[in-house]
Symmetry: C2
Subunit: 347 residues, 2 copies
DNA sequence: TCCTTAATTGTTAGCGCTAACAAACGACCT
DNA sequence: AGGTCGTTTGTTAGCGCTAACAATTAAGGA
């Protein structure tokens, strides 16, 4: 095997001499390898002089600790697995960025597993993949209801933080307050004097979609308004377009709260083609505030979620679970409304 | 230390008995641990009977190989690091998905490092992070020119596949043929009879932006048309909007080839507001074909890139470098044009 | 029959690190 | 001076695995 390696190109990348070990540093600094280990790991009982000598040797040799060896003995990989189903979407992608930032700052590695389709099998596969890798914890970025069960039955030996859920049982949760977001959107429309406010929701088996619909319903009910104008889309611009075409004919509402910005884009096009003016005839509010929302026609009033912050909070919670011995809990990030030209008082 | 662990919540997640080792499987199957290792690793010289007995024991105990231990002795982590700067963008996010899919299929783990800002320092940091983790290879998803140097001077001991570049020196490359994409866009406009075709490019220090501009220029020159209508944007819808406003006043071109879909969105809005009709007055072509492009107003003619395929090819190349001893080389994915309503013959 | 060769299995060492324990050293007290 | 303590350093073992080699068995040929 080693012989074979010498012939393949991987070896071409390897410099001939091997990387320095603790032993090499120890020799150079004139101490035992254990003392070097103590310096590396910031143990308290090392004299200042020794510490400095060791640090110099580390720098001179360019020593870097071997993660595999450390993991083997500590049973910690310092790796967090992020299990995600919609990584190409704006929200999850940015949440991942937040997780990565916080993780790297804390000296953790981030490993990913993408789910092509969301099913108990695919989730089990991904979780097993992570356990094979020996991750210390898992962040589940799967916005469907029912994900929790698939993970729970696995009886994983590591902490799990579920994004977009309040966390149940042994799992911790990190979420943006979707209901609040929906309430902000509806409150804005009510303030402008709208009485008939419809909602185009995402698929109701998505936690966020259900929460937003519920927030919309609650806000309307509290204001004494009807909550009968609900249509379910599939998050895509295409579904927003299709639903928008129907709404343009029916004209049952003076304002529409749309479950995300993409569907809102489709609605705007349908309205535009049908001659329904936004916001003069109908006001439209989106959700997410993706970077393009300000350049729709007209610019979209929408609810901003700070996904990166959500990701950072996730990781903070994971670190607390891992290192401070905290128990399961929940963290909530508040959304805020961004008012643009797509909303105005009804005619 | 062990004592402290018993009190923190991490242990609460641990079942009391430790995970099975090779030795446990060996005992159960009545063979030596080495024989089990051979079965696990598909070594040829194991009798069928023994193999089956071992496999049964593995299944019964739910044995899973300890990655840290294996890495320690083989000096292979079976982990690929993906170094990316714009992970929240449609293209890079989908490329990552492709890499992840191919990697997991091949039994590799995918680790990520996101760059908040692109500089030699941040790239060096990320690369060092990966080396600390002991990755077997690095996929660089950094679309700026000059990235290569920052990586090259590090003299990494592992293969590197650079996405969006043809690969230079020791690095391999995987790219979508950007020039071809630009040529397709321009050819489509020329076919429709346009003579004055402008280009709104991305920042010229991005490799893709420069390639697209070059493709645009070549296609025009070959057709004997002027290539003097070039404006540089920053990829954002906002910059497209600003530039679109100017173009709407100047009216120097009958068609605009825009460097990406987001800027095209901004251009469409600027034109819409200024009363410039698309495609009647000016045709617009984008680049990327992100999912929303079909729902712009009007639906956008654009150039589709298959980012997932690009990611898969990256990983295929990485595997070839790692396992088959292949040398550095390049793989190219062809884009194709998607014609929608934003283009038409000039008036 | 015995030797040669191949196929299969077992034994040993060690990858680089940390935890646990042991030893050495000095400071301080009585 | 001699004991007690705390601080600093060294020694040893072993985490779970694979590579290299050794041992065993079976098969085939002279």
């Amino acid at each position: 095997m080693r012989c074979r390696l010498e012939h393949n190109s991987y070896m071409a990348y390897s410099s001939e001499r091997r990387l320095p070990r603790l032993e090499d540093v120890a020799e150079r600094a004139g101490v035992s390898h254990q003392t070097v280990s103590r310096v590396i790991n910031n143990h308290p009982n090392v004299s200042k002089a020794t510490r400095e000598r060791v640090e110099a040797a580390v720098a001179e040799l360019g020593y870097r600790r071997n993660t595999a060896a450390r993991s083997l003995v500590t049973r910690r990989s310092h790796t967090i697995g992020v299990l995600a189903s919609e990584l190409s979407q704006y929200g999850p992608a940015n949440t991942l960025l937040g997780v990565e930032q916080a993780a790297r700052n804390a000296g953790y590695f981030v490993s990913i597993a993408a789910l092509r389709e969301v099913s108990a099998d695919s989730i089990t596969d991904a979780a097993r993949h992570f356990m094979d890798q020996g991750v210390d914890g898992i962040v589940a970025l799967v916005p469907h209801a029912g994900t929790l069960q698939a993970l729970e039955v696995l009886n994983l030996d590591v902490p799990v933080v579920v994004v977009g859920s309040s966390g149940e049982g042994r799992f911790s949760g990190a979420m943006v307050d979707q209901k609040l977001g929906a309430r902000l959107a509806v409150a804005h429309l009510i303030e402008q004097g709208h009485k008939r406010i419809g909602h185009i929701s995402g698929p109701q088996d998505w936690i966020d979609a259900a929460e937003r619909a519920e927030g919309w319903r609650e806000a309307l009910t509290e204001a004494g308004l009807d909550d009968d104008l609900l249509v379910e889309g599939d998050w895509s611009a295409g579904s927003g377009y299709g639903i928008g075409q129907k709404l343009a004919v029916e004209r049952s509402a003076t304002a529409v709260f749309v479950g995300n910005d993409q569907m809102a884009l489709g609605v705007l096009r349908a309205f535009g083609e049908a001659g329904v003016r936004v916001p003069e005839d109908v006001s439209v509010v989106g959700f997410d505030d993706q970077p393009e929302a300000g350049y729709f026609m007209p610019p979209l009033t929408t609810v901003r979620q700070d996904f990166e912050e959500l990701g950072r909070r996730c990781m903070d919670m994971m670190l607390a679970l891992l290192e401070d011995g905290a128990g399961a809990r929940t963290t909530v990030v508040d959304p805020r409304i961004v008012v643009r030209a797509s909303t105005a008082p009804p005619a």
